[in-house]
């Protein structure tokens, strides 16, 4: 849902306000800022990796 909200904001603004690809919906968010969008954009996710 967050990706949808940020995308709608980008389209309405006519420019890229948020890099939606960076949204990690598993992130922990603070309450400050654009509803924690900044924290969500900055975090990395955990993925299972195959043994090298």
């Amino acid at each position: 849902m967050m990706t949808g909200m940020l995308t709608a904001a980008n389209i309405l603004a006519g420019r890229t306000l948020y890099d939606v690809w960076q949204v990690n919906e598993d992130a922990e968010y603070g309450e400050a800022g654009v509803s924690g969008a900044r924290e969500a954009l900055a975090s990395a996710r955990l993925v299972p990796r195959r043994v090298a």
């Binding site: 389209i11 919906e25 299972p48």
Partner: protein, 444 residues
Amino acid sequence: METTDTLIIGAGPAGLTTAYRLAKAGHGVVVIEQDKHYVGGISRTVSYKDFLFDIGGHRFFSKWREVVALWNEILPDDFLDRPRLSRIYYAGKFYAYPLKAFEALRNLGFKQCLACLASYAHARAFPIRDPRTFHQWMRNEFGERLFSIFFKTYTEKVWGMDCDAISADWAAQRIKGLNLSKAIIDGVARSFGFKPQGGTSAKTLIESFRYPRRGPGMMWDAAAAKIKASGGRIAMDRSFEKLTCDPERRTWTVETIGGDGTRETFQARHVVSSAPIPELLAALSPTPLTLFHARALKYRDFLTVVLIGRTPRQWPDNWIYIHDPRVKVGRVQNFRSWSPEMIPDATSTCLGLEYFCSEGDDLWDMVDRDLIALAKQEISAIGLLRGEEVTDACVVRQKKAYPVYDETYLENLRMIRFELASRFPALHLVGRNACTNTTTRIMR
């Protein structure tokens, strides 16, 4: 040809949220959805003879204030606060997760316990140096026996990968904070009346979440109604065939086909897609260079066999994890615990047996009748419902339920993202296929 400001592919949470926000701001939207009846995508609520089912279970839980505000705006009067409980079910007993040492030891029984402790002691005394695999790492931490009871089967069911093929660093991140020696010390301390420091090991698994009283689909029906009221259009039973970008005129032409074969073409300034990336890129014109990367993205599919019946055996969990290597079922949803309104009467039990699979594998290709027979046999084998107590059943399939985050996933996504951003600036990817999300279905 119909012209609109933004064409949106998919009426799931991401597509409808985008459409809702745009339509509310007076922007023209058309949403195309391939399902004939349901909006909501993977978080639709399916109905069968007045029984309602959720595909995988969707807790509404968000730390984003703006997301919570949106739920309240779309569905102001229909949210319930539900208690959350989900445990591991193994050999007829329920186990909290993370494991509680004494409960686990008591439930396992004396002999199994001794075997677990011996295997744990052995693993600690003779650890595998530099563990490289999930299996080796977990065996070092918990011992071979506990690993095989509580971690091996479920992990393999979910990811479709052998625990010897998953790397150890993922385990180290996932299982952090779970330490058997500490659990035992804390457990002993609690038995003598001492409170463990910080209280983390005593953290209860029961918390609450919000849930629409008639399932998550209720939210998306309400969103769809509001989009239409703001002048948006939702075209059901329709999938895209070709998306052509005209960079000169800065427009998109989207060719669609309905279930009955009717074709319709749309022109739009922006395209928003929640479709799986391989399908989207295969339909793009000009052909993207990263089509090859898109084809390498793997998805897991998911099917639920719903069993309806009457049984004296009741349990309060929303769902349970099945860690039994003898059965293929991975989780069992208990729909009444999500919301009593999911069940049309006061006495029926309605369980959803979830099978993780891949399109084209033996499970996915089984016909409904055989799947129902398998589910009945498995549910009686694990002792939750006897075969003769089942009065009705149905099968719900979900393709591409979640991406497989394998070792190539992020790199492929990075390449695709780079190309789309530079060559197709008015194409916006949203939702779980686009960026993230886990196998636990939390609406955020």
